[in-house]
Symmetry: C2
Subunit: 203 residues, 2 copies
């Protein structure tokens, strides 16, 4: 498709930009409400040494950018209107607004959607997918593209495991079926359980 | 957009089909894992008198259609591949496969996605959006189109309220902001809490 071709070109341009500035960039994807913004809040809370910049994507509202701004972190909110995903051109414009310094961390929170963002390379260094234990184990089978194009899968809201019907090992097995090299972490972003593993991976 | 125009025409054709057969049709939408299939399972469990037909939509897999089939209910699974929503043409084909009888109930479970399905009329009698208490209260503000184009909003997984940070009244207020005529029900599809209200609405 022409749109994807066009996006891939612009994504490579973003990739070069990050490379030149030695920036580590993350495209954070998940269903609505799986914990992307909560993870960003925890990340900002415990990262003092490295400069962090955030690019927020939502159809409407600035709620997520407001939450990040309250932490004192530079952030840009992109509203996609009817659009179901961020694209490389939007990221390009956001980067020129943020002007991130060298050796910084740029985290992109994509629109809550397990379908469309899978197709759109943003030029990120890593794509991280969050799966909540409340969503059911079969999400990797139903939305394979998202899990196939991610490098790390965070299983979030483990504090709710006693109250939901979710088998962590089976969920991982399903995800490995669509992406055998996918890595995993289990955490609770609100309880800050096991967030240390995420910090270690970031550094 | 041409695609939307084209879809609207086909949606009207489905609407006429339902009208001719006096069929009550529902387009069930939500984020991934909010409880659409669980609601269908409960609906089938307790509806003996009215014939039910299900049209299932997912990117990949037949998991949901398999769950419905196990109940003995006629079902068609549509796999959209990279597509992020069901469209009216897919429904048209599914109806000719199912050949629903007069005075029946046809429930369409859309792809788990709060963005794309909002734009695609399927010819349904009613659009029902499920919001899970685990997703956060601000979903209506971030995905306004989906709540604006629905007539009924089911707030699901209320059994988890003691363990999550979710204010039911605030969530409803946000939804009413984008759709002042939206109706609500609170339930748990797995515990079958308050499902009776849903049965009453269906009949
Ligand atoms: N119990 C529990 N709730 C959580 C956890 N992480 C996030 N939540 C809750 O889940 C809801 C959504 O969290 P967010 O961080 O806003 O999720 P999000 O993925 O950014 O949501 P969108 O940007 O709207 O797609 C909020 O009510 C959080 O408090 C967790 O580990 N455990
Ligand atoms: N605690 C609790 N869990 C629920 C409830 N309803 C559904 N679930 C769980 O949520 C998960 C997803 O439920 P489904 O019914 O498959 O959700 P869905 O909307 O059909 O999911 P997709 O079709 O994949 O988008 C399953 O593990 C269910 O057991 C509820 O009321 N309470
Ligand atoms: Mg968010
Ligand atoms: Mg389902």
């Amino acid at each position: 498709k022409d749109i994807l071709q066009e996006n891939n070109l612009r994504a490579e341009r973003n990739r070069g930009y990050f490379e030149a500035k030695k920036i580590f960039s993350i495209n954070l994807v998940s269903s609505p409400g799986s914990g992307k913004t909560s993870l960003l809040e925890r990340t900002i809370d415990f990262s003092d040494d490295i400069p962090i910049y955030v690019i927020e994507g939502d159809q409407q509202s600035t709620n997520d950018a407001d939450r990040i701004r309250r932490k004192g972190t530079p952030v840009v909110q992109i509203n996609t209107g009817n659009g179901c995903h961020l694209d490389a051109e939007m990221i390009h414009r956001a980067l020129h607004e943020l002007e991130p310094v060298e050796h910084s961390l740029v985290i992109i929170e994509n629109v809550g959607n397990l379908v469309c963002p899978a197709l759109f390379d943003l030029g990120e260094t890593h794509r991280v997918v969050i799966m909540s234990v409340t969503e059911g184990e079969d999400k990797p089978l139903k939305y394979p593209n998202m899990f196939a194009t991610s490098q790390l899968c965070l299983i979030n809201k483990i504090d709710l495991l006693p109250y939901v019907d979710f088998d962590v090992e089976r969920a991982k097995a399903y995800a490995l079926r669509v992406n055998p090299s996918l890595k995993f972490m289990e955490m609770s972003t609100t309880k800050a359980t096991n967030i240390v593993e995420w910090y270690d991976w970031l550094s």
